[in-house]
C-alpha cells in the first residue's frame, strides 16, 4: 500500500513536469507567430495597440514573459483572455473541462460498455451469426471516423427523428441538459467501442481456452460464474492496457465532436481560441490537455494492480 502511494506520488510529480514542459513548448512556439490578438480590432491607433500590449505584458522581452508565465502556471494562474477582457483563464477552462469530462465519461461508458458486450458475445458465440454480426459491426464502426458518425447522428436524431427528440441536443441554446449528452457521446465513443470489442473478443477467445477456465468448468461452477469470474476477469487485463490511449483518443476526438455539436467544452475552446488568436487561452488549453492525458494514464495504471495481483508497485 505504501509502495502504491509512493508510486502515485512519483507519477504526479512526473505529470506536473511533463505538463509544464508541453505548455512551455507551446508558449515558445506561439510567440514565434507574427501578429497578435489585437490586430483585428478596428480603428486601432499605434498608441492604443502599445497600451494593449503593455497591459498584458506582451511588450516585455520573451524571457521575462516566459518567467512570468511559468510563475503563474505554478500558482495555477493561466492569465487572462486576450480577447474577452477581464476573463480569467483558469476558472474558464475548469468549467469547460467539466463539460468535456461529462461527455467524455459517457463516451467512455459507450466505449467500454458496448465494446465489452459485443466482444464477449462474439467470443462466446464464435463462428456463429452473432459473432459475424458483432465482428463486422466492429470493423465498420472502427472504419468510420467519428465526425461522420456525428453528422449521421445529427441527421437521424435531429432531422428524421425530430418529432421525438425535438432537437433538444443541438438546437436549444445553452448547455446542461441530460438529453444533450447521448448523441455526441455515442459519436465520440463508437469508433473506440469497436476497437474495444475486437480486442475483447480476441482476449476472451484466448482465456476461455486456458487451463484455469477448464479447471473452473471441472469444478462444476455455473456457466455465468466461469465466464464472468474466471474468463472475463482475465480477459479484461489487456483491455485495461489500451484504456490509457483510448482516453487520450476520446480527449482529442472531443475537439471535432464538440465543434460539430456546439458543446461548450475544452475541445470547442481549442478551436475557438486559435481562430481568435487568443494565445493565452491556447496555451492554457494545451496545458489542461497535457495534464488530463497524464492523469488518465495514471488512473489506468492504478486500476491495473487491482485487476491483476501479479502487478505490484
Amino acid at each position: 500500500m505504501r509502495g502504491t502511494l509512493l508510486y502515485i506520488g512519483q507519477r504526479l510529480v512526473l505529470i506536473a513536469v511533463t505538463t509544464v514542459l508541453v505548455s512551455s513548448i507551446v508558449f515558445l512556439l506561439l510567440h514565434q507567430i507574427p501578429g497578435n490578438a489585437f490586430l483585428n480590432e478596428t480603428r486601432q491607433t499605434p498608441q492604443a495597440l502599445a497600451a494593449e500590449l503593455h497591459r498584458y505584458g506582451l511588450d516585455l522581452p520573451l524571457q521575462n514573459q516566459y518567467v512570468n508565465w511559468v510563475q503563474g502556471v505554478l500558482h495555477g494562474n493561466l492569465g487572462e483572455s486576450l480577447v474577452n477582457r477581464q476573463v480569467k483563464i483558469t476558472p474558464l477552462l475548469v468549467r469547460e473541462t467539466s463539460v468535456s469530462a461529462t461527455v467524455g465519461f459517457f463516451a467512455l461508458l459507450v466505449t467500454v460498455g458496448l465494446g465489452l458486450i459485443l466482444g464477449v458475445l462474439a467470443a462466446l458465440r464464435q463462428n456463429t451469426w452473432v459473432d459475424y454480426l458483432a465482428s463486422s459491426t466492429a470493423v465498420v464502426g472502427y472504419s468510420i471516423p467519428s465526425f461522420v458518425i456525428a453528422i449521421f447522428g445529427l441527421l437521424v436524431f435531429g432531422h428524421y427523428l425530430y418529432l421525438w427528440t425535438q432537437g433538444t441536443f443541438y438546437y436549444v441554446p445553452g448547455w446542461g441538459k441530460l438529453e444533450q449528452i447521448p448523441v455526441p457521446a455515442l459519436a465520440l465513443g463508437l469508433p473506440y467501442a469497436s476497437y474495444v470489442a475486437r480486442l475483447t473478443r480476441a482476449s476472451m477467445l484466448e482465456t476461455i481456452r486456458t487451463d484455469y477456465v477448464r479447471t473452473a468448468w471441472a469444478k462444476g461452477l455455473k456457466a455465468r460464474v466461469v465466464v464472468v469470474r474466471h474468463a472475463l476477469r482475465n480477459a479484461l487485463i489487456p483491455v485495461v492496457t489500451i484504456l490509457g490511449p483510448l482516453i487520450t483518443g476520446i480527449i482529442t476526438g472531443s475537439v471535432v465532436i464538440e465543434n460539430i455539436f456546439g458543446i461548450p467544452g475544452l475541445g470547442k475552446e481549442f478551436v475557438t481560441s486559435i481562430l481568435a488568436r487568443d494565445y493565452n487561452i491556447v496555451i492554457g488549453v494545451f496545458t489542461f490537455y497535457a495534464a488530463l492525458v497524464g492523469l488518465a494514464n495514471l488512473t489506468v495504471d492504478v486500476i491495473y494492480p487491482i485487476l491483476d495481483p501479479r502487478i505490484r508497485y
Binding site: 486456458t210 487451463d211 484455469y212 479447471t215 473452473a216 471441472a218 469444478k219 462444476g220 460464474v225 501479479r310
Partner: protein, 313 residues
C-alpha cells in the same frame, strides 16, 4: 476423425486404475470425456459413460454441472496454468465447495484452511490469501488436489499430475493422492506415461494406443505377462534395476499414427515386430487372454518363442 474410439473400461470404488500410453494416444481425451470437458469442436458422438446408474453422456447441462467436481473431480497436468492467476488460492478452493450446495458459504469458508492443511500445505492459515504466483509448482498442485477432494468425490481423475513437477516433489504428490483416496475411499484414474508409477500405485492398468485400449488387466499380470506387442515393447524400453542380464533396451521405431491417416487393420502394425498378414487388413478385437486380462492382438506375446531375439531383427 475419432481421437478415441471404442474405449471401454470400468473402475470400481476404491480402485486405482492407471491409463498409460504415448502422447497423443487419447489418454487425456478419454479422461476429459468422463466429465464432458472435451475442447471444442470435439464431441462425444456415441457411447455411454455410466456412473452408477447415471449416464454422463445423456445428462443435461445442469446435471453435468452438478456432477463435475462433486462426484468426479479432476486434477490437471500443469499446476502452473491450471489455477486462475487473479484469484486467491483460498477463494478458488472455497468456490469449489460452494458450487455444489454441500456446504453453506460459511462452512466452506471455515473448511478452506483445514483443506489446505490436509494436502500438507505448510502455514496454510497464512497462505490462503496468497495468489497462485506466490506458490511453487508443487504447492499449486497441492492446492489443485485440495480443490479436487474438497467435495469428497468418489472418483478422482489425475491427468499426469506430476509431469510438470520437480522429481523431488513428484513422490510426495503421488503419496498424497494415494493417501487421500484411501481416506475418502475414492477411486482414482491415474493418467501417466510413467510405468514405474503405475507399477507402484495402480491395481489395474489400461494401455492405450491410437485412441484404443490395446491391453487391460491387473498390474501384476500386465507387468509380468504383457500380451500385446505394444505393451511388451513399452516395458522392454525401460531400464530395470532387477534385470539379471544387462540387456539392450528395445525401442519402438516410428511414431504413433496421425488421426487423419489411420492405417487399416491393427493400428499398431506399422511399428510392430511381430505382425502377421492378418494385421494389415483386419483390426483385432479386445479379447480375453487370461482371466481379467484383455489384449487387442492377433498374435499375442505368449505365442512368440523368443521375442527378445525377434524384436532386435
Amino acid at each position: 476423425m475419432n481421437a478415441v474410439d471404442g474405449v471401454s473400461f470400468e473402475v470400481d470404488r476404491g480402485e486405482i486404475v492407471g491409463i498409460v500410453g504415448e502422447s497423443g494416444s487419447g489418454k487425456t481425451m478419454t479422461a476429459l470425456s468422463l466429465l464432458r470437458l472435451i475442447p471444442e469442436p470435439g464431441k462425444i458422438t456415441s457411447g455411454r459413460i455410466l456412473y452408477g446408474e447415471k449416464d454422463v453422456a445423456q445428462m443435461t447441462d445442469e446435471e453435468i454441472r452438478e456432477f463435475r467436481g462433486n462426484e468426479i473431480a479432476m486434477i490437471f497436468q500443469d499446476p502452473m496454468t491450471s489455477l486462475n492467476p487473479v484469484l486467491r488460492i483460498g477463494f478458488q478452493v472455497e468456490e469449489a465447495m460452494i458450487a455444489h450446495q454441500r456446504f453453506t458459504n460459511k462452512q466452506a469458508k471455515e473448511r478452506v484452511v483445514p483443506m489446505l492443511q490436509r494436502v500438507r500445505i505448510p502455514a496454510a492459515k497464512d497462505r490462503v490469501r496468497d495468489y497462485p504466483h506466490q506458490f511453487s509448482g508443487g504447492m499449486r498442485q497441492r492446492a489443485m488436489i485440495a480443490m479436487g477432494v474438497s467435495n469428497e468425490p468418489s472418483l478422482l481423475i489425475a491427468d499426469e499430475p506430476t509431469t510438470a513437477l520437480d522429481v523431488t516433489v513428484q513422490a510426495s504428490i503421488i503419496e498424497l493422492i494415494r493417501d487421500l483416496s484411501r481416506e475418502l475411499r475414492a477411486a482414482v484414474i491415474l493418467i501417466t506415461h510413467n510405468m514405474a508409477l503405475v507399477a507402484s500405485l495402480c491395481n489395474r492398468v489400461i494401455v492405450m494406443y491410437a485412441g484404443r485400449v490395446v491391453e487391460e488387466g491387473p498390474t501384476r499380470a500386465i507387468f509380468k505377462n504383457p500380451q500385446h506387442p505394444y505393451t511388451w515393447s513399452l516395458l522392454r524400453s525401460m531400464p530395470r534395476v532387477d534385470e539379471k542380464e544387462k540387456e539392450r533396451l528395445i525401442s519402438i521405431k516410428g511414431l504413433p499414427p496421425d488421426l487423419g491417416k489411420m492405417p487399416p487393420g491393427c493400428k499398431f502394425h506399422p511399428r510392430c515386430k511381430f505382425r502377421v498378414d492378418r494385421c494389415f487388413t483386419e483390426e483385432p478385437p479386445l479379447a480375453e487372454v487370461d482371466p481379467g486380462q484383455q489384449a487387442r492382438c492377433w498374435v499375442l506375446m505368449k505365442n512368440i518363442p523368443d521375442p527378445e531375439a525377434q524384436a532386435k531383427t
